[in-house]
Structure formats: C-alpha cells, structure tokens
C-alpha cells in the first residue's frame, strides 16, 4: 500500500504561492486580504482532516512549528497531533510533536521510500522547493489549489518555469467566498 501525495497550495492568479500566512516576503500574509468564506473554511478543514501526515520542507516546518503548537481548534488539533515528515539536512532536533526529519541529501529517494511504506495521505502544504522536486520526480498524485483573485506579480510559484509538460485531470472545481476558486487536479490516467 503506497501513500498518496497531495500538494495543497494557496496561490494568486499568477501562480505565486509564497508566504500566504505571513512568512517574510514582499507581501506577507497576502491571503488574509481575501474572504474565502465559510465554504472555503469548510473545504480547508475537510482537506486537513483527510490527511494522515504532513510532508513539508524546512521553511514550512519552521513556520508551522512556530504557530500551530500555540493554537487550538480543529485545524491545530489535527496539525499538532498527526505525524510530520520534514525534508531537511539542517534540522536535527525538531521540537514540534510527532516530527520526523528526512535527510534531504537525496530528498527524492527519501520521499519515494516514505511513499512506499506509509499507508494513507501525505499532505504537502507550502514547501516550495520540495514541491518542485516532487513534481519533477512525478511523485505528486493530487494538487489542490485555492486561487485568490489577485495578480501578485512577484514571488515563488507552484510551477516554476523548468517544469516538464504534464497532463492533469480536473477532479473538482468550485468557487468559495469572494471569488476564490478551489481546484483539485489529479494525475491524468
């Protein structure tokens, strides 16, 4: 039984995924300016509940580990309790509950091994660099995007330019809140 890897990102219309929640960036916390509505919150909550573990890069780990342990509520409960796998060569002693460090010396093979042995859904939020590697190695089974109605104009993108041509299948699409588009893509058959 192999795991499913689900990348999930907040993006602008121009595909920028950087620092949606306030990490250092030209436009920190830019998603907070938009109303994703109750239906958008419900989508994120349902998505989070479906995950069995997080697979994240070191920067996203630091951002999450700095925020979620101090919070409560259904998102925090789930994030704090479920297993976290962090791809990093520098992180040695992770303090966040239930965290395992994967040595990113060879991230792809580490993740490939995890994918083969883990049973369930590995969710990948943020994690720009890791996502590039996962896409390149064709390890991504599903991509969930929440597209906010703004052209940010600068910042790291989900799909950087060197991406290879790849067909996808649109599994689900809906509009939530104030013009926020939710899209779920799977690998094309």
């Amino acid at each position: 039984m192999a795991a499913r890897i689900v990348v999930t990102e907040f993006v602008s219309l121009d595909g920028v995924m950087q620092a949606p929640g306030g990490e250092p960036f030209k436009y920190p916390g830019w998603t907070f300016e938009f109303d994703r509505g109750d239906d958008g919150n419900d989508f994120k909550l349902e998505e989070t509940r479906q995950s069995d573990a997080l697979l994240i890069g070191r920067r996203t780990y630091e951002s999450f580990a700095g925020a979620w342990p101090q919070r409560d509520g259904p998102f925090a409960e789930k994030f704090n309790s479920m297993p976290k796998y962090v791809v990093s060569t520098t992180l040695t002693d992770p303090e966040w509950n239930n965290t395992t460090v994967l040595d990113s010396g060879d991230a792809t093979s580490q993740v490939r091994e995890l994918k083969e042995t883990f049973d369930g859904e590995l969710q990948v939020p943020g994690s720009h660099r890791l996502v590039q590697e996962l896409i390149e190695s064709d390890l991504v089974d599903q991509i969930n995007l929440m597209i906010f109605p703004v052209i940010l104009g600068t910042g790291q993108k989900v799909f950087e330019e060197k991406a290879e041509r790849r067909n996808l299948r649109l599994k689900e699409s809906k509009v939530v809140g104030e013009g926020v588009v939710v899209l779920i893509y799977e690998r094309a058959a």
């Binding site: 121009d14 595909g15 436009y27 052209i151 991406a163 290879e164 509009v175």
Partner: protein, 182 residues
Amino acid sequence: VRKIKSYFFISLDGVVESPDTWHFPYLNDEMGDAVGAGFATSDAMLMGRVLYDEWAAYWPEHADQPFGDVMNSTKKYVVSNSMQAAQWQNSEIISGDVAKKLTDVKAQDGGDITMSGSATTARWLLREGLLDELNLLVHPIVVGGGLARLFPPDEPTIPLELVSAQTFENGVLNLSYALAKE
C-alpha cells in the same frame, strides 16, 4: 462605454505561448461557444504589434479560410509606437498617448473590443486600468518548457474580482476576471 475584453488559452502553469502545441486536444463545442459568446458582442479587435504582424501576413492571403472574411473585414486596432503604416484592411495604429487614445476609442459608439493573445499589451492595459475583462481558459496541463507566461516575474500587484467561473466537461475552466473596484 465599449469594453475591452481579453481572451487567453492558458495552461495551469500560466503559459500562453504557442497554444498550437498544447491547446487543440481540449478544443470542443463548449470552448467554441464560450469564445464565440465573447466575440458576439464585439465589433473590433485590439492587438499588439507581434500578433498584428503575424495575422497581417496570414489572413489577407487566406480570406477563404473559416473566419477569413471576419478577420479581414473587422476593425483592428494595433498598439505600437514603432509602426509607420498598417496595410491590413481596416486596421488603425494606436501610438503616442495610447491610454488616452484607447479611452477615446472606448467612449465611441460601437460594440466591445476583443483581444486574443497579445500578453504584453494585455498586461499593460491591466496596469493602466483599461482592461474590462480578463478571460482565462485554463487548460488542465502543465506546459512548462520555458514558454512565455501571461504573468512574468516582477510585475506590479493588481487586485481582481472573479466575475464568473465555468467548468467544461474536459476540465478546462473558463474564468472571467475584472479589475477589483476600489
């Protein structure tokens, strides 16, 4: 007031270049209808010089092709400060104070003005607040390969509002955006 409406075939990674190499497998009646509906209210086209040059070299010789008559007879505005003359039938160069001239064109009587492609011109119109609709037909494909994107890095931030969203059977999205109201 006449609206300027821009249409793009665009991939999930934002590529708009060379749609002839990735768009055709997704062309179906739904997409034809959506594009047709946009052009139904329009009686003029607007484009940048690159697209103008391409079309001006093609359509006069291919008047017997589908859309040939329409392409040749429809009024064409081409934004360019370098062109001296526009030889193609019914075309007009917009140069100098382009923003003011287009504002004047929009205030004239007439139907809407459509654009298909011309990313540089569309971005400029967005920045100037002159673009009324940005219609993106988002194809479920990552094109990559370094092809040009609608939104290259280091552009100003532009807040938008989603006007409508439609999902076609083949997974193409028809997203229509306008500039956010202040």
